[in-house]
């Protein structure tokens, strides 16, 4: 029985690990729920009360026409009460408008939920974006260079509106109403475009678009016989999108055989397609330029059941092996020239410390190692640079807005810790 328990637990664990809850689930749900009325109003009583009041008014009105003189009085306009927000947050530091053209890493000011602080890649605060209202950080994402912010209606990855660094809403192209703006999108390597894969009525389509602009769509034949759609378990997503190299990396992980496609963005042509046995890998990772792909072994996320014996970095062009890593290691991402990769060396799971390392892709040499007691909350690769921003949180901090610290990890292994604690986007 114990053996079966372990096997069942492992099977469920794998399923659950593939789709962990969003980090701010508790905060979002509690806030959304408690904002609603506790009970639906009783309209029957309301209707009855309204009818009663109306009846009384009619009777009084009729009586007044008989027993009272009409009073003629000037109408007085009552001043309209205007709701004004009462600031409760402690004063936050205003770093002024962010400089144009400087890539910034944004975090939410822990003292003012409507403000985002932008740090440059030396760790210096360079600007404050003042949004019109406090933000739910699970619903906002920055472009890699921080020039634009996407707002998701439900925190699920699709952006339905965009804000600039002045906190102004970017007008949406009217033709966008014809497109799946809610489709899950990722930022392309140019930091300008968004890319996504969508099942259009006539088949799969690769979408690229600029924020708030109408998308370009090309058909992509990843499912020529309709088997994926018929299977009912779609699981197709985009792991990487390089406008500069005209290449997208599509993957499918759906509990059956895993798939990886390298696709030309301009015409949707499939350049290569590779299949993998089910349940061997945890996920695929692609470099920003689409040149490298990673097959992360399922063992890297703690799967007990048999998994791929190694985590492998390959060239997307010919699928040749660049580096083979122990199966317990998982690759998080690459810097922009693919010289180094950020990896986790213990399973990246909620409320467990995450050990990490920065390794040279060509040699596997470890340049930096983190073996502290904190948990990885998020990371970013420097656009057109070589460094990473690593955001750490306490493992015991399961609050709605966990406090994070930001560490800049350079490709030579040196680090800079940004002073202060913030809330991640």
């Amino acid at each position: 029985m114990e053996k079966l328990r372990s096997e069942i637990r492992a099977a469920f664990e794998k399923e659950q690990a593939a789709h962990p809850p969003i980090t701010s689930l508790r905060q979002n749900v509690v806030a959304a729920v408690t904002a609603r009325p506790r009970r639906a109003p009783n309209y029957q009583w309301m209707a009855l009360a309204a009818a009663l009041v109306l009846g009384i008014l009619v009777v009084v009105g009729l009586m007044s026409t008989r027993f009272a003189r009409h009073a003629i009085a000037p109408a007085h306009t009552q001043p309209t009460a205007t709701a004004s927000a009462s600031p409760t947050a402690a004063p936050a530091v205003d770093y002024g408008p962010p400089p144009a053209g400087v890539p910034l890493v944004y975090v939410q000011d822990s003292k003012n939920a409507a403000w985002l602080i932008g740090f440059d890649w030396t760790g210096k605060a360079r600007g404050t974006v003042k949004m019109p209202a406090p933000l739910d950080t699970s619903r906002i994402g920055q472009a890699p260079d921080g020039s634009v912010f996407g707002i998701s209606p439900n925190g699920k990855g699709g952006y339905t509106e965009f804000m600039d660094t002045q906190g102004n809403r970017i007008p949406m192209d009217p033709s966008l109403s014809d497109w799946p703006v809610n489709a899950s999108l990722i930022w392309a390597d140019d930091g300008q475009h968004l890319c996504g894969i969508w099942f259009a009525p006539r088949g799969w389509a690769l979408i690229t678009r600029l924020p708030a602009k109408s998308p370009t769509s090309v058909p992509v034949a990843i499912d020529p016989d309709g088997a994926i759609v018929r299977s009912g378990v779609i699981g197709v997503s985009m792991a990487g999108c390089s406008i500069q190299n005209d290449r997208a990396i599509l993957t499918r992980s759906a509990g059956v055989d895993d798939h990886l496609w390298v696709v030309r963005i301009s015409d949707g042509k499939i350049l290569s397609h590779r299949t993998y046995a089910a349940n061997q890998l945890s996920n695929f990772v692609a470099s920003p330029d689409g040149a490298l792909i990673v097959e992360n072994s399922a063992k890297s996320v703690g799967q007990i059941a048999p998994a791929a014996p190694s985590t492998i970095i390959r060239r997307a062009s010919d699928m040749s092996v660049v580096l083979t890593l122990d199966a317990s290691i998982g690759v998080l991402g690459f810097n922009s020239d693919n010289s180094v990769a950020l990896v986790y060396t213990t399973p990246w799971a909620a409320q467990v410390q995450t050990h990490m390392a920065l390794i040279e892709v060509q040699t596997g040499k470890v340049l930096w190692r983190y073996e502290g007691s904190q948990e990885l909350a998020a990371f970013m690769a420097q656009p057109n640079g070589k460094d990473f921003a690593v955001m750490l949180k306490g493992t015991a901090d399961s609050g709605m807005h966990p406090s994070i610290s930001v560490v800049l990890v350079r490709s030579d292994g040196s680090t800079t810790t940004v002073p202060g604690n913030y809330v991640r986007l």
Partner: protein
């Protein structure tokens, strides 16, 4: 904290710790993270409205997970896309259910309620009393259901 005074803070204290388990239960049933997130939010709203039905001293976890499970069952019955996303998978021939069978595939073939029973007992580690409360059966009934579901995975299994 009295439940009659439940506001955001007390709701968070009472139900908040179980939202993660609620999401995981919804994911186990719906097998779609987006739908699971929606389900846990809708279930939390139902819990918010029905909070007065939770008796003083009763554990909140099985009560909330039962709401989640019921909501997911309802969703699967009514939403058209569940038909597209989650078709019934092929049944595995009992003849090949041996010790060496791939547990993932075997779990995928189990009826939904059997799978839920295993999930609650083996993954969430709920005691039988709470498994029963979520499934709407007695603790004895829950034990039988878990045992029968486990036996479908391992025909020769003897319950501890």
């Amino acid at each position: 904290m009295r439940r009659t005074e439940t506001g955001e803070l007390s709701f968070d204290a009472l139900i908040g710790p179980h939202l993660d388990a609620g999401y995981r239960t919804a994911l186990a049933i719906l097998q779609n993270p987006d739908e699971a997130h929606d389900a846990v939010q809708e279930s939390a709203f139902k819990a918010w409205r029905k909070l007065h039905q939770l008796r003083e001293g009763s554990p909140a976890r099985p009560w909330f997970l039962a709401i989640v499970a019921n909501h997911c069952r309802s969703e699967r019955r009514t939403r058209w896309f569940s038909v597209i996303r989650m078709p019934e998978m092929e049944r595995v021939d009992p003849e090949i259910q041996t010790e060496n069978i791939d547990i993932d595939r075997a779990l995928a073939t189990l009826p939904r309620e059997d799978r839920l029973a295993l999930f609650l007992y083996f993954y969430l580690d709920l005691p039988m009393e709470e498994v029963g409360a979520v499934l709407g059966v007695s603790p004895g009934g829950a034990k039988t259901r878990v045992y029968r579901a486990a036996k479908k995975l391992r025909p020769g299994l003897e319950m501890d």
